[in-house]
Amino acid sequence: MASLIDNEGYLRVDPSILKLTKLLLLTLIFVSISFAAVSSRLFSVIRFESIIHEFDPWFNFRATKHLVNTSFYDFLNWFDDKTWYPLGRVTGGTLYPGLMVTSSVIYHVLKFLGLPVDIRNICVLLAPAFSSVTSLAMYLLTLEVTSSSTTLRTKKTGALLSAVFMGITPGYISRSVAGSYDNEAIAITLLLVTFFLWVKSVNTGSVFYGSLTAVFYFYMVSAWGGYVFITNIIPLHVFILLLMGRFDYKIYTSYCTWYALGTLMSMQIPFVGFLPIRSNDHMAAFGVFGLIQLVLLVSYLKDTLSPQKFTRLMYAFSAIVASVGITGLVAATKLGLIAPWTGRFYSLWDTNYAKVHIPIIASVSEHQPTPWSSFFFDLNFMIWLFPVGVYFCFQELSNSAVFVIVYAVLGSYFAGVMVRLMLTLAPVVCVCAGITLGRLFNIYLDIREEVANWWHDKKDETKDSLFTLISKMVVSATFIFYLTFYVQHCTWVTSNAYSSPSVVLASRAPDGSQMLIDDYREAYYWLRMNTPEDAKVMAWWDYGYQIGGMADRTTFVDNNTWNNTHIATVGRAMATSEEKAEVIMRELGVDYVLVIFGGLIGYSGDDINKFLWMVRISEGIWPEEINERNYFTDRGAYRVDDLATDTMKNSLMYKLSFYRFGDVYAGNDPVDRVRQQKLSANYAKSITVDVMEEAFTSENWIVRIYKLKDKDTFGRDLIDIGKKERKQLSKRNKRMLSRKKPALDLRV
């Protein structure tokens, strides 16, 4: 008999069956979480199609194809001659290979199992697949934090809730919808696994878990540049524990194991190389490593020496250590042994730094400071559960609770600095929200006592317990409502804000039906089919990866942005006049120029709106030639109509965008729908392009492609020819012209 009713009236069940039921329930819950996590990320596939999104994923996809088609070593030594022409890019040595290797392993395993899945589908669905692993890792992390702290213990409620939160929080979904094949897709999973293992190894003091932490740290390093976050948060955790006087052998063992193994392993990634011992980003980890050795030595000396001698020794010792340390650091920086503070690092502290000093960093929209509303947008009600969770951690202050606090502080700060770092904040918010709600539900959903009172009809306590029951029910109901609302919110945000591939745009036709704007792919396909295979296409760097991935043509600059000068050269060609641009383009070897123009249908992410960044970036290098002020009218307005400044009107980008724009309006005044400015029909007609010829314009004019004309056979200036053709002299005037003595420079 597995169960029976005992003489007190309680149901007695065999413990093994209970365990089995628990396991079954747990499995069921995880299956449901995975299902929810994966399915909410599939909006984009269902709405659009199985397609790689945005910009960076196109590079990752192209790299993955390269890896799948060649060997691992070929991939590692890959010199990409189709990007950054004519510099080329040492792609194998300048990327984080983790993502590509993961997909290619999955691809080969599936193939081995007799399931030949197209590599594109693997890439598209990798992020959703990993999101379910993430929620599992989140469960483990929260469980580890809660179960190792007495007051935070909430059975498994908290852990399960945090797993649910993590599964569908928009803050994470924004980077992991199907098709968003980016490094973050697997990096967040690895981040959480590493943190879980770290907390576990601090709690157990085991070398095994320390080594596992290092292994996953290595995986993380191979996958995302954000690994620096781990590199700094773990030493900070240890440092704070040191200050709290919590130092023990458990911490010592796990930190030394992690640091030694993790650093050595991370140096195996070519892109990282010697950074862990040279870059200042990694100095904290190194410093703490040295510090705990000193602490160990000091605690040994304390045991052996007399207190007086020990104090004297301590003064001398700390003075020496401090002076040697600081002079060493300064000297090494001065000598260039360790990398100087990078711009990206400064922009973490001072949000205005990038805007002033490094336009290329500031020009990326995801590097902008976070607006307040996006915290609620991405995290919903967890944003106010988060401080409560942190408060609970402060109450307990166990080693693992301190970790959560450290993570919460750092995560909030960085999320406030850069929009995209919301991604690293989301997990700790989920942990804290899970802890809070877990604790709340443990108390308020536990109505056993009240029910028992009522059941056994204890008269004196029934009235009290009825009120308790009601208050408990109200609180629980409120939070269950919030939970329901959370799901609603997440689904709504995911489907409306984060599921657009941005390669295909959706809009509404006047009758309300959905209309897909597929200009990008139309244009890239045109390039692929109609231009020579070695044609070189100049476009602003945003489109570099897409041109490489979809059109398979050589590009000059792309989203990798490793060479600011090269980007500035392209920006200069776009910002300067046709004459000067022609020289630059011939030097570079340009065949085609691709511009994005949204004026016709009102697509605001076009090149004219990004134009100021091109101006700023090239001004950084050629301040005497390009000046941002000249692109604004005297009153400081950014105009593209008849009132635009001459510099603006003469710039190549402007001409390429608005050339023949008037033709669409058949004699009426054309309107730029993005800038909401009206050009007069006559003026629109006067916009000419002489050094290039229009090769292709997509259906909605979003993508316009121009071909650079060959040099004139007769050695004439292309712009002069154009001017002459437009003049349309009468025969008589022409005859007169041929009889007039030309004004020539002396022939040399």
Binding site: L87, G88, F714, R747
Partner: protein, 415 residues
């Protein structure tokens, strides 16, 4: 009937154009009476070079000749004799003709140059003086003894050139122009309608002007202009000059081409990596009027190795002859810089066809297994030995620690 007249005995040296197409259109003004009698020697010369002549009559009533049928060029060459006709061939058509690879020889004089042709020449940078302007040289008369020949590829030698009824051209600074004969220092052109001599009334003065000017487009099509028909008349036919000028303009002399280009890695690899040694070869041939022969004895053929800027600019040296072409080559070490490098030979010498050959190759960085191993670098020995010392020291420590502690523990246990 003209054809019969011109099918006379060919001249001694039979030369022909390197191009298979020899269709030639000769445009002349039907109103000029002297035409039929004055150009027989010129036509003989052309016939002897196997040009397939067609005569185009230009007059006030005749339609302008078609240079294209269905967009295809009908002729390879056009010879424009002095005409005063208002409409000849539209300037754009002439430009298109040359753009498409056709050659044009224009002979004009001071009786006036046809407007379309003048505008066409203006586009190229040649500005012939119009009809009011007369060529004057009170020191030498209208015959140039020992003229100043500027380009011996086009005109190897000229003893004396008669330049009657001449017009003179001013030239722009276009690099594609090939000035052949410069006006004498003592000459000038003056507008006879304006009595006074001033800067406005003179077209050229002294060596500012040019009498014979060639032009070669980037596509190697050639145009030639001269301002006097005297050398082409039967009366004062200058065989030496006419022969040379016709040869150059109609692609018989001054023709070179690249027959082959080749580059390879000296160590036999298919691609290139930094610091490899590479050899570049280019084969050049020269048309001698009959066949392609090696283009020999050049010391000025240069190779540029370019990535944005030239990393090398090397003189190519002649190495061997191969299939009627002279191979020029050079060997050099690729710089320590990866990227897309272009081997570029741009051989543009006045009078010769342009040779513009470029090949772009990727030069990759060192692969992970191509760096020297650590022990091959002497500098690393100090690090290697210290690492080794730590390993040995640690091992020794472990051994000592494990075995030296035994006694102590045993004692404790027994106690």
């Amino acid at each position: 009937m003209f054809f019969l007249l011109f099918l006379l005995t060919p001249l001694a040296l039979a030369v022909s154009s390197a191009l298979a197409d020899s269709r030639t259109l000769v445009l002349y003004d039907s109103r000029l009476p002297e035409f039929t009698t004055q150009y027989s020697k010129l036509f003989q010369t052309l016939e002897s070079k196997n040009f397939d002549l067609e005569l185009g009559l230009v007059g006030p009533d005749s339609p302008s000749p078609d240079l294209f049928t269905n967009g295809f060029r009908r002729y390879q060459n056009i010879l424009v004799l002095p005409t005063t006709s208002r409409d000849l061939v539209p300037t754009e058509t002439l430009l298109q003709f040359v753009q498409d690879g056709g050659d044009v020889f224009v002979i004009s004089d001071n009786k006036g140059i046809q407007t379309d042709v003048a505008l066409f020449l203006n586009e190229l940078g040649i500005f012939p003086s119009p009809k009011e302007y007369k060529y004057k040289d009170y020191h030498n008369g209208e015959t140039l003894d020992d003229p100043e020949v500027q380009n011996t590829v086009v005109l190897p030698s000229a003893k004396s050139i008669s330049y009657t009824d001449g017009s003179v051209a001013l030239l722009s600074n276009s690099e594609l122009l090939v000035p052949v004969v410069r006006a004498p220092r003592t000459s000038y052109t003056v507008n006879v309608d304006e009595g006074r001599l001033s800067t406005d009334s003179t077209w050229h003065s002294g060596s500012q002007g040019f009498l014979f000017v060639g032009f070669q487009g980037l596509n190697n099509a050639r145009v030639f202009w001269t301002g006097s028909s005297a050398s082409f008349h039967d009366a004062s036919f200058n065989e030496e000059v006419v022969d040379a000028l016709v040869n150059w303009t109609f692609q018989i002399s001054g023709l070179i081409k690249a027959t082959s280009t080749k580059h390879y890695n000296e160590n036999g690899d298919a691609g290139y990596k930094i610091k490899d040694t590479t050899t570049y070869e280019i084969g050049l041939s020269h048309w001698n009027g009959d066949q392609w022969v090696p283009f020999k004895n050049r010391t000025d053929v240069q190779l540029e190795y370019v990535m944005l800027d030239p990393y090398y600019r090397l003189n190519l040296v002649p190495t061997r002859e191969e299939n009627s072409s002279q191979i020029y080559s050079t060997t050099f070490q690729i710089p320590d810089r990866h990227g897309m490098f272009t081997y570029k030979v741009l051989y543009q010498r006045d009078g010769y066809s342009f040779v513009d050959e470029s090949t772009t190759v990727p030069v990759r960085h060192l692969a992970n297994d191509e760096y020297p191993r650590s022990w091959e670098i002497t500098n690393s020995w100090v690090y290697l030995s210290s690492a080794l010392a730590v390993v040995i020291g640690w091992f020794a420590f472990v051994v000592l620690f494990v075995f030296s502690g035994n006694k102590h523990f045993d004692k404790e246990k027994t106690e």
